[in-house]
């Protein structure tokens, strides 16, 4: 019988609980598991809050495959989800190389562990890079929309498909409004980036082109599509415009509810930060493998522990992927 109490030992044993192995796992590994439990609860708190908010705005929440439609190299092609699917696959592959590193560690094959760790780091970097690209697209936006005085986002469609402002508004901004910078105005004041087109110009373009319709945020529960307004209704809504929105920030976004973008930034950002710290820890362990720290120690348990964390990051992404992009 093992007894699960701390045994006084010399200082070298401090970090592994005096050699005591509760649950048959080393102290460090067990604590990694418990850290993962608490971190999983943090993430589920975020995702549950996302769920609450989505239920609260269930009749107007943005539809994910209308928001995330980009794929590298394919400009203007409607490619919903392919890119996140690819990202998911990259992260799964990095999990596989990680588990292969752990496996090689059991067999005490230093070189193999190093190579698999290296591959894991590379895939991790590719993933974070992809996420940065996803953010860039989300922030710069692809269509543009307008926001009414009562806080609703109006998007423009032609033959049922969303079109960009630049697709139907001709010419450059006509009211000769220029961006206020410290060079042409008051040096101590800043102005938010002004939109490409003025409100009046968009309204005029809408009126002169009868093919353009306006899509509201409201979802038709029968078809699960956003409601497209008639020309007259659209004009009535458009007259209430107070802001032209291009892209997304924490205050306003062209996709719909402000809080949708907030959750996007917060949840994927928090996950991306986990991936980033995972990469840093992986790099530290990678160098330790190379200089033979674990070879001298006699076991590669550190690779196993960092592996647990890395798989956890993958695990979280699986849920983020489902609840942000699929459901």
């Amino acid at each position: 019988m093992e007894v699960n109490i701390a045994i006084p030992s010399d200082s070298k044993e401090t970090w592994n609980g005096g050699g005591v192995k509760p649950f048959g796992a080393s102290y460090g590994k067990m604590m990694m598991w418990f850290f993962i439990v608490s971190d999983a609860l943090t993430f589920s708190g975020f995702l549950a809050a996302y769920g609450l908010t989505r239920f609260k705005f269930i009749d107007s929440w943005p539809i994910a495959d209308e928001v995330f439609t980009h794929f590298p190299g394919l400009h203007g092609v409607h490619a919903p989800m392919y890119y996140v699917a690819l990202m998911t696959f990259i992260l799964i592959v990095s999990s596989v190389t990680m588990v292969l590193a752990v496996d090689a560690g059991h067999e005490m094959k230093q070189k193999k562990v190093a190579w698999y760790m290296f591959a894991t780091i590379i895939f991790g970097i590719i993933f974070v890079g992809s996420q940065a690209w996803e953010w860039k697209n989300f922030i710069s936006g692809s269509y543009g929309s307008v926001k009414t005085a009562d806080g609703k986002i109006l998007q423009f469609v032609k033959e049922g498909h969303q079109i960009a402002l630049s697709d139907f508004v001709v010419n450059k901004r006509t009211d000769e409004r220029v961006q206020h910078t410290k060079y042409n105005g008051l040096w101590f004041e800043k102005e938010e980036t002004i939109s490409t087109y003025s409100i009046a110009q968009i309204k005029e373009a809408y009126q002169s082109n009868s093919e353009i319709q306006i899509r509201s945020e409201l979802i038709d529960l029968e078809t699960k599509q956003k409601v497209i307004l008639s020309r007259e209704e659209g004009l009535a809504q458009l007259s209430k415009t107070k802001l032209v929105v291009e892209g997304a920030n924490l205050e306003v976004n062209e996709y719909g509810n402000t809080i949708f973008a907030d959750f996007f930034f917060f949840i994927t950002g928090f996950h991306g930060f986990h991936v980033f710290s995972g990469i840093i820890i992986n790099i530290i362990v990678f160098f330790n493998v190379i200089i033979g720290t674990y070879e001298r120690r006699g076991h590669y348990e550190m690779v196993e522990k960092v592996g647990l964390y890395w798989h956890f990051v993958d695990l979280v992404w699986v849920f983020v992927f489902t609840f942000f992009y699929l459901v």
Partner: protein, 113 residues
């Protein structure tokens, strides 16, 4: 730590194939969105959403059991981690989703479209 790692490589590849297949199925369904799965409702949401959630849980199972090697841990370590997380997450999600539904039913009638 030395338990059964003769066969683990084969298992790793099988799990990779499983995870890839499941993700492919999810994405395919998400793009096609068959109307009979997407526009019908069962137990509060569409069958399509239930398929996504179940497939996600299957993926989570594979990652935890095979990659994180939970299957090789002692029974009570496994339980102290899995039961705690599953219970607390179910509890939190249930309460928050009920609250979200209530907020909708209270606030939605006040929004004029």
């Amino acid at each position: 730590m030395a338990h059964a790692h003769e066969s683990s490589k084969k298992r790793i590849w099988i799990v990779l194939i499983m995870l890839t297949l499941i993700t492919t199925v999810e994405v395919a369904l998400g793009i096609v969105k068959p109307p009979y799965l997407h526009l019908t409702s069962i137990l509060g949401t569409s069958p399509l959403n239930w398929i996504f959630i179940i497939l996600t849980l299957v993926k989570a199972y594979y990652i935890t059991w095979a990659f994180m090697h939970m299957e090789g841990e002692k029974k009570w370590l496994r339980r102290s981690v899995v039961w705690t997380a599953v219970f607390l997450i179910c509890y939190l999600v249930t309460l928050l989703l009920i609250e979200g539904g209530y907020l909708y039913s209270t606030l939605a009638p006040l929004v004029k479209w």
